[in-house]
């Protein structure tokens, strides 16, 4: 079976959609340059589709997003790159007050079909301003879809769906995933609003997204050795949130762990547990979170490694929690 690299999956999805639909544009900082962006995701696209459809821009994140909005409102389907997720704070006004609002506020006259790709996440020793996960800043904004794939196949299928979607989609690519390989997708697109049960089990549900899903799967492998059958759910999107899939799983396992690469307070993981508590309290025997400390992300390897959740800390947390049954945060 041929294997697909995550960054190539993104590149292919872009190329195929640029090919398929004349109204798709792609622009960003250094994305059209020979290197194809700082993570070498998009080389060759300008050569193939021309400088009118694929181009480099000034370092102007607010103009980038604002231009994407105006273009999307008038018949174009722009895909833009905000190089690092940390920079998403710069164009935030355009996301929140322009793209997210057009559909509802215009009384459904039109929407803003744009996609913002961005490299997110820690683990690369990039420090506090190049490692954040802006998904939680944006999860509470009605009108924005917030998607983050965990595998090459999903990266391709979700990005194609995002480009075809009539709504603004924030598409978060974890830096630690760019070089991973995985099976080719078995469908053209992957729906943006369906969480995936990526491993089945009856003892505990672990929910995560993006790189966390890989960590959870790896942890589940290890824990299988303890005789624990772990069900792993990949949320795929933080908004809209597919709570139903999670609730179904929790009704079966009665225990849920949410793994987030980010702080507990204000994160999506506590919110997910809260929604489970609201709708499925009586199914719930235990619920907890593996997250980061409540600080910015440190640079030094010794600090960053300790800071981030990984397969090992998940395993430890599950063992500790299931052994003791104590209800304190892991």
């Amino acid at each position: 079976m041929s294997e697909l690299e995550f960054r190539v999956a993104i590149r292919d999805a872009l190329a195929e959609e640029l090919e398929r639909d004349e109204s798709v544009l792609f622009f960003g900082e250094d994305v059209a340059a020979e290197q194809g962006g700082v993570f070498a995701v998009t080389p060759g696209l300008q050569e193939r589709f021309g400088a009118n459809r694929v181009f480099d821009t000034p370092i102007s994140e607010l103009a980038l997003a604002g231009a994407a909005f105006g273009a999307a409102a008038t018949g174009t389907r722009p895909v833009i790159e905000i190089m690092f997720g940390d920079f998403m704070a710069l164009p935030m006004d355009s996301l929140v007050n322009q793209a997210a609002k057009l559909w509802f506020v215009s009384n459904e006259q039109g929407s803003a079909p744009l996609v913002i790709r961005s490299a997110v996440g820690a683990g690369g020793r990039f420090g506090a301003m190049h490692s954040q996960n802006p998904g939680t800043w944006l999860q509470g904004i009605p009108g924005l879809k917030v998607v983050a794939p965990s595998s090459p196949a999903d990266a391709k299928g979700l990005l194609k769906s995002a480009i075809r979607d009539d709504n603004p989609v924030i598409f978060l690519e974890h830096k630690r995933l760019y070089s991973i390989k995985g099976p080719e997708p078995d469908s053209e697109t992957v729906p943006l609003e369906e969480a995936a049960v990526v491993r089945e089990g009856g003892d505990l549900t672990i929910v995560s997204i993006s790189k966390g899903v890989r960590d959870a799967l790896q942890a589940a492998d290890t824990l299988a050795g303890d005789g624990l059958e772990i069900e792993v759910i990949d949320l795929r999107a933080l908004r809209p949130l597919d709570l139903a899939t999670v609730l179904t799983s929790v009704a079966k396992t009665n225990r849920v762990l949410a793994v987030e690469e980010g702080p507990r307070v204000g994160g999506w993981a506590t919110g997910l547990l809260g929604s489970i508590a609201e709708q499925g309290l009586h199914d719930l025997d235990d619920a907890w979170i593996v997250a980061t400390e409540e600080t910015p992300i440190p640079y030094s390897p010794s600090l960053e490694d300790e800071f981030l959740p990984n397969a090992e800390t998940i395993v430890e947390s599950v063992r500790a929690r299931l052994r003791t049954g104590v209800e304190t945060g892991a």
Partner: protein, 336 residues
Amino acid sequence: MSARPAQETERAPEPAGLEREHDPGAFLDAYARMVLIREFEQAIHRLFLKGEVHGTTHLSAGQEAVPVGVCMALDADDYVSGTYRGHGHALAKGTAPEALAAEMLGRASGVCGGRAGSMNVVDLEHGLVGCFGIVGGSIAAATGAALSARRQGRVSVAFFGDGATNQAYFHECLNFARVLELPVVYVCENNFYGEFTPMENVTAGGEIAARAGAYKIPFTVVDGNDLWAVRDAATEAVERARSEGGPTLLECQTYRHYGHSKSDPAKYRPDDELERWLARDPLTIARERLLADGIGEDEVTAVETEGREEMERATQAALAAPYPDPRERPGSEFSG
């Protein structure tokens, strides 16, 4: 209005300009639209005092020549974006007064079903990408629309105030538009105040149009109360945009007759300032020019009466319209 049928192809600038130059009825039509905007603002003002318009509202009375003059240079399918002070932007581009009034009143028949209100009107059918409650937002919307416009043989116009030229959007978008040579016209309505603060107190250099020079974007300062001046400058800018000449900045100097918003008595204005500007009311200037250009007084008066009556009908219809029922139509977050 001078809106012409949609054209998807590019055209040479000169003939279009000349054709408009010599169209005798165009300025009377434009005057009619200015009258309508003035009547609209006065109606909204009255309705606000009666408690029928909610929240806040920003009236553009005194500034009518700017959107009307600019839209004379546009086709129906060109794009514009406006501000929270956007009634004139919408009406000049073709939004129906009744639908706009109903929006202010929060009625189901409003152009946005009552969801948007005064500050956030969208009318895509008429090329109004949006009015933006965020100062500077309109600049981005039009810049982006110009990316589409370039592919569609259209142009795009941003309306914004003097205060907006200190916003991030202004700088990033003007640079972006010049780099990409986008067909966009930036129209700054310089009314010399941002809320209660005089323009010159917060605008380094004090020269708005000159800021375009930093990006090598052509710019002009126009008398924003003179419909002819605005229309001529806009025509040149629009033709530049259509002929791949890239962006232009027009600074239209004008004045708002009312305070910044409903709650502002505008006490910060120096004595006589309003009087001096009222003496240069764009409607008076246009009326006199039309008469001087040989349009009959009866024709002008007819247009004025019609404007008043149209607005009266629109107001009554809007007042009679029901409020939206959220249970009937709860509204969705996403399209599709």
